[in-house]
Point group: C2
Chain length 438, copies 2
């Protein structure tokens, strides 16, 4: 568990025995039980303004309505309804004490024995929207997007394929959480169609590249964390303090055009191969909700340099899976199952490394884990690895096979933490691939 | 000249014979004559709210004041004073027709024979601030920062030093304007002190890296362009249309920690070596003001793929220089002189390539040229190249030498276009290096 004990009222929100009067939240398979309370931004056909909500059972609770009704208290210094916004940033800016206070208040309001909202039919009618009727938006404005490369298995696989199987892992990999700047503008919310990119392809039988649609379109199964408290330029975040800067986590599909990538990436890294779209799940699961699922990260050998050390447990036991459903197929096929706990470098280490040079971060910044691959092909986090660059196509239900993604394929990431009798889920991170521009 | 002829009223603003009643603007050495009219954001000790201004002679003209006084007209759909803002984005969002209209109006108001402002002493007293008394701010909110690598000489020099002198230029370099995502959060305005970064250094005599202050701190002499009109995700910008998406240009010093870079950059590119600071000049010189200085770019061989072709002239004749002044030195030494016209890939080609995958851009995005090196050591755009990785230290006035930057050094970039009897200048891009955190 964390090195810093949680306040008692916050710990109570994690009690597996706590049930809600929203009965759908009490189902053992529900991803949004009262222990989760993830934050998102939604609108409806009837009420088109995007505002902040929390998922509970089969519903979204509208925090803007609760606040206006006086059922959610914020510090007296807050003069505006920070929930009546199209992004979570203003709420997150209020700080961790406020996030935690809102979590404690919501957990209490939604608990089985609390009457205030439960017995107020008129307010409930305004405050709840069925998830099926909610349009979910990008939950935060993302000022910056950084992607790491922190799965040892993934880095080894890619190094084996594209560089040298005997020296697959480069010497710097074991010393630092390698990362690079991504493109924040093209981060989209789950459900947004993803257009296959055009670009330069270097075919093996030709001297010069050709221009055309990507032929090796891939997913990257990742998680991302969202910065909850920034740091000033020139003032690094210490590894021990880093988790206090994290608001929560999402699923992240860092779509990748492998053929474009292979031709462009030396020496300055991936660019067009990644900047056409990165999809995140719409609900941000707070680090507080993930507290019961802390586990030890893999042993780090060699021991990291001092600025990358932290005591306690900083990995999280998050089950992950990837599904692929071709256009017209009856059902999706699971093509990978893995777990976030395999990650070599922790989120805290990533953030300490990111800022050690003095780089500043801002509320809403998204930090991707890098592709999360386990030790076996059925736990790899990309088709590149699962099919070993299309040499071993993956078989889908119904008989189709895939080396890489085809037009019309729907790719879905899922993630959840399994508690005792409940699960803290991330919801889905979905994208359908549409044909390239002609 | 441009393939599309300019409107007559815009062309008139470029007439070398036009003079201003602001006499300091008519000096042949002045960087801000009536032909320039660059946009920035400023405040003063007496009036601390940042607002939009235009540099003219030794002064800044406050556009928020002009607008409120009815001397600057915007389309009737504009309901707020977009100049009374701490960033140019809202003004830029109004579109090129509006930028051009404001330029035409300002040129007329400031022209020697126009009485409206000249003869209104009370309004002039409110509308003008001496540059020496203005605090200049970052001119735009920068949602995304991309850096290219478009000088053939620079790419060849770096490839020679760090990879293979015989194959210094990688095969992809001649086919596309190689670029990578930078870190927008740490772009700072000229004058901001730059703290020497700490990070991992791999010393040649040790197996493992050490943690410490960068020992090879460097500049990169670049220009940057600012996006004036974005594009939607999935909708590339054609090369022929790209310049219409550019608001203007700045000078850019992309500070680089060469030792950190060399250890971290394979395979995902530079990260901590660049993210600690990038400095831009405070005035954005519009593409319209640069129109008379169009020249042909270097011949491109092989001919680029079709999506990277454009007719006409797309390079600009911008003189550039770098000065270094050690702490306590009486004067600065010029350590490099070069010209933007040497760049192999044009800004239009960079933007077409950036978006060809479908990547979206947004108003205010900054796109760096990459280090601008000429053909000889005294025209190289980084100390890495000038001193050939400190092997040939550069001599400064007074006898000091430099391999890389020392604490207390002040680095200054300057840039200007030389017209007939006037010069369109960029102002200075300055940063003093301060010691690393202990």
């Amino acid at each position: 568990m964390s090195s810093q004990p949680l306040p008692d009222d916050l710990r109570a929100t994690l009690d597996p025995r706590r049930k809600s009067w929203i009965e759908s939240a009490n189902d053992a398979a529900c991803e949004f039980p009262i222990q989760n309370l993830p934050f998102g931004v939604f609108s409806t056909a009837q009420h088109a303004s995007a505002r902040v909500g929390v998922a509970i059972g089969d519903s979204v609770i509208d925090l803007a309505v609760l606040y206006d009704a006086g059922l959610l208290r914020l510090p007296a210094t807050v003069k505006h309804n920070v929930f009546a916004r199209g992004a979570l940033n203003d709420f997150i800016e209020l700080g961790r004490d406020v996030w935690r206070s809102v979590r404690v208040q919501l957990s209490s309001l939604l608990a089985r024995d609390t009457a205030a909202l439960r017995d107020d039919a008129a307010l409930s009618a305004r405050a709840f929207v069925k998830l099926a009727e909610a349009k979910l938006h990008l939950p935060v404005n993302i000022p910056g997007y950084t992607d790491f490369y922190s799965s040892k298995e993934h880095a080894t696989n890619v190094g084996s394929m594209f560089r040298d199987p005997k020296n697959a892992l480069l010497p710097n990999w074991s010393e630092m959480p390698i990362g690079y700047n991504g493109r924040a503008s093209s981060v989209v919310v789950s459900g947004t169609p993803v257009r296959r990119p055009n670009g330069q392809l270097k075919l093996p039988d030709q001297d010069r590249p050709v221009f055309g649609a990507c032929r090796k379109l891939d997913i990257e199964l990742e998680t991302g964390f969202v910065i909850g408290r920034g740091n000033a330029l020139g003032e690094p975040i210490a590894c021990e303090d880093a988790e206090a800067h994290i608001f929560g986590m999402v699923l992240l599909n860092d779509w990748s055009a492998r053929d474009i990538q292979q031709w462009e990436y030396v020496p300055l890294g991936p660019f067009n191969a990644k900047t056409f779209a990165s999809t995140i799940s719409p609900w941000i699961v707070t680090l507080d909700a993930l507290e019961p699922f802390r586990v030890a990260q893999p042993v780090q050998e060699p021991q990291p340099l001092a600025y990358l050390r932290h005591g306690g447990e900083h990995a999280f036991d998050i089950e992950l899976e990837v599904l692929l459903q071709p256009a017209g197929a009856q059902e999706a096929s699971t093509i990978s199952r893995t777990n976030f706990r395999h990650m070599y470098w922790s989120m805290a280490q990533q953030l300490a490394h990111h800022t050690v040079s003095g780089c500043n971060t801002r509320v809403g910044d998204l930090m991707g884990s890098g592709t999360i691959s386990g030790p076996t092909p059925d736990s790899f986090g990309s088709l590149l690895e699962i099919t070993w660059n299309a040499k071993n196509p993956v078989e889908l239900k119904g008989g189709a096979t895939r080396g890489f993604i085809e037009d019309g394929d729907v790719l879905t990431l899922r993630g959840w933490c399994q508690g005792e009798g409940y699960r803290v889920g991330f919801g889905e991170c979905v994208g359908e691939v549409v044909a390239a521009l002609g």
